[in-house]
Amino acid sequence: MTRIVGHVLILAAVLFFLGLIGVLVRRNIVFMLLSIEIMFNAAGLAFVAAGARWAKPDGQIMFIFIVSMAAAEVSVALALVLQMHHRLKILDTDAAKSLRG
């Protein structure tokens, strides 16, 4: 069981990598949000693993914070998705580039 923590971290890295590819490649904002959730989870996984390694609660607490942040982020982001779909009739982020400063 002791070796498992290292493997968990590798798993977290792989998941993070997948999420990153998703964000980079997908143009649909819903998919980008999903990919971001994957990355959050990967990060949370690494925290939990680290907490388990030293048998301390801090890792889980960080995970809790990540979850709460994800909740806040998703709620706002999805509201924005609704707005965007309404205004632009499209979910393509590239089409929304007129939003730049």
Binding site: T93, A96, K97, R100
Partner: protein, 629 residues
């Protein structure tokens, strides 16, 4: 009487200031009275001072110094505004004030039609004041003030008719070329002060004699720099190019500044600093060689000019060459003697030429004149006397005594040589030729242009006085052979070193004198023959002579050389670099940052994915750096 010395330079300055401030509101008669009057009183005062000065002294050296105020006093450098009167400066101020007064008198009529009558006299007065300051200065700094002051006046007066770009060019050229010499003089002053700790001329001479061994490099360098200053002011080789162009000014200006007084300032400077030159045989030889070379070179150029004033200009250069030659061979007083006679007869010639030019409606070209002898008898006769004096016609003219002295001393001096003598005698031949070429072209031959104006008394009187002086001026230094006592030489020898004769050469003076006289008379006859027999035209038709003619005409190509080597490159550099090459660096810097701004703007394109890409790239790079470094 000597306490009144300060008034002599102060009076013209005051006149100048007054005319400059109020001249435009005064009537012409008042301006004339003020302008000529201030200098006239000056001349009178100078006479009184001279009498008083000579009365003070019997034979021992006597000088009078008058300190007006302390100019500077910093860190051991304390030149004051002081005047210094000794035999040399006395002779100088006598000649200067007398000639100046006559020329001012002449100008009152000559310039009467000019709109800027008061400006003319203001500047002329300023010139006289500066010249007197130069001559009377007790220290080098004050001398430098006068030196630059006369340069400024020369510039202002050459460009007096500033509407013509040509005149402006001539004025600028004169100013800048002499300024080159002035800079050398300034450097000489730096050396003198740094090594001798004072700029008072008398103290400098004593200190130099004590501290600098004869022939030491420092003395040579100093003397050569002083020589450079003198060369610039006196239009000697290689800085002679400005003087012929300076004839663009009004004729009285040419007479006063560019013939009688200012251009001889170099001679005065060298005579004044004779100790430094005596310490440096090389520099003294340089003076003689420059003088000899200049007198020949300018003589040739004078021979081919068309413009009557340019002939006189080259003649001036040539005659100052004689003075330099005299200085170079140690005949100090002879140089001053020639300065004096030259001032008389050259002023006379210029004023005569001015009459001619005024009478022919501003015609300068001698080939368009002719036969004016009958129409302007007074001008003709006085001009002829001047020409004779310039050509050193024996016995009767002042020029003969002064020039003959120089020619003889060039041979017999301890520093002289046959070559210098040969150059001088050849120059004498040239002098006679160009002088009488000018006389023949102007006053003889067919009448080409009628004289429309006769000079009135203010113009005639100076001619007559100067003609008398051109004849009688020689009397002040009549040598023993002619029954005189060499009075001027004796007088000047108090301040100037006495002449040293080479052993074994001081024989046959009579024969040399006769030979020199024959040469000058021969020159007159030769040109007369050439002109009469139309040989002159024939010779100048041949192609080789033509090339030579244009070479001499252009003053031996010095102008072109300087233009090519100095003027054009500088002007071109200034033109190319108008926008300042260093500014390009800063402009480039700002352009670079602008480009950087553009580049960064391009990344901000509004695509979320490219932002993410940037973040990921940054993370990859940073982690990569952390891992692998």
């Amino acid at each position: 009487m000597l306490e009144l010395l300060w008034i002599i330079p102060a009076l013209p300055f005051a006149g100048s200031l007054f005319l400059a401030l109020l001249g435009r509101k005064l009537p012409r008669r008042a301006i004339a009275c003020l302008g000529a009057g201030s200098v006239g009183i000056c001349a009178l005062l100078t006479g009184l001072v001279a009498i008083s000065f000579i009365g003070h002294t019997s034979s021992h050296s006597f000088t009078y110094t008058q300190t007006l105020w302390s100019w500077l006093d910093v860190a051991g450098f304390g030149p004051s505004v002081s005047l210094h009167l000794d035999a040399l400066s006395l002779v100088m101020i006598l000649v200067i004030t007398l000639v100046s007064f006559l020329i001012h008198l002449y100008s009152t009529e000559f310039m009467i039609g000019d709109a800027d009558y008061s400006r003319f006299f203001a500047q002329m007065n300023l010139f006289v004041g500066s010249m007197l300051t130069l001559v009377l200065a007790d220290n080098f700094l004050l001398l430098y003030l006068g030196w630059e002051g006369v340069g400024l006046c020369s510039y202002l007066l050459i460009g007096f008719w500033y509407g013509e770009p040509q005149n402006g060019y001539a004025a600028r050229k004169a100013f800048i070329v002499t300024r080159v010499g002035d800079t050398a003089l300034a450097i000489a002053l730096f050396i003198i002060f740094t090594h001798l700790g004072t700029l008072r001329i008398g103290e400098v001479m004593l200190a130099a004699r004590d501290t600098w061994p004869a022939g030491s490099p420092i003395a040579t360098v100093t003397a050569l720099l002083l020589l450079a200053g003198a060369v610039g002011k006196s239009a000697q080789l290689p800085l002679q190019t400005w003087l012929p162009d300076a004839m663009a000014g009004p004729t009285p200006v040419s007479a006063l500044i560019h013939a009688a007084t200012m251009v001889t300032a170099g001679v005065y400077l060298i005579a004044r600093t004779n100790v430094l030159f005596m310490l440096s045989p090389a520099a003294l030889t340089a003076v003689a060689v420059i003088g000899a070379a200049t007198l020949v070179v300018a003589g040739f150029s004078g021979l081919v000019q068309h413009d009557i004033k340019r002939v006189l200009a080259y003649s001036t250069i040539s005659q100052i060459g004689y003075m330099f030659l005299a200085l170079g061979v140690g005949a100090w007083s002879a140089a001053i003697f020639h300065f004096m006679t030259h001032a008389f007869f050259k002023a006379l010639l210029f004023l005569g030429a001015g009459c001619v030019i005024a009478a022919t409606d501003g015609e300068h070209d001698m080939f368009k004149m002719g036969g004016l002898r009958k129409q302007m008898p007074l001008v003709f006769w006085t001009f002829l006397i001047g020409a004779c004096s310039l050509s050193a016609v024996p016995l009767i003219t002042a020029g003969f005594y002064s020039k003959d002295l120089i020619i003889w001393k060039a041979y017999c001096s301890a520093r002289g040589s046959v070559w210098l003598w040969a150059a001088a005698i050849f120059g004498s031949l040239l002098t006679s030729m160009y002088t009488f070429r000018m006389v023949l072209l102007t006053f003889f031959g067919p009448l080409r242009k009628n004289a429309t104006k006769r000079p009135g008394w203010p113009m005639s009187l100076p001619l007559v006085v100067l003609a008398v002086l051109s004849i009688a001026g020689g009397l002040v230094d009549l040598p023993k052979n002619f029954g005189g006592g060499s009075a001027l030489t004796k007088f000047l020898t108090r301040d100037l070193p006495s002449f040293v004769t080479a052993p074994g050469r001081a024989v046959h003076q009579g024969m040399f004198g006769v030979f020199a006289a024959c040469v000058s008379l021969g020159g007159i006859l030769l040109i007369e023959l050439l002109m009469r027999s139309r040989m002159y035209e024939k010779i100048s038709e041949s192609p080789r002579a033509k090339a030579l003619h244009s070479f001499w005409f252009s003053g031996w190509g010095f102008d072109r050389l300087y233009d090519l080597v100095l003027v054009s490159p500088y002007a071109m550099l200034a033109r190319i670099n108008r926008d300042d090459v260093i500014d390009y660096f800063y402009t480039g810097l700002s352009r670079l940052s602008r480009q950087g701004w553009r580049g960064l703007c391009a990344t901000e394109n509004g695509r979320v994915r490219s932002f993410v890409l940037g973040i990921a790239l940054g993370a990859a790079i940073i982690i990569g750096l952390a891992v692998f470094l």
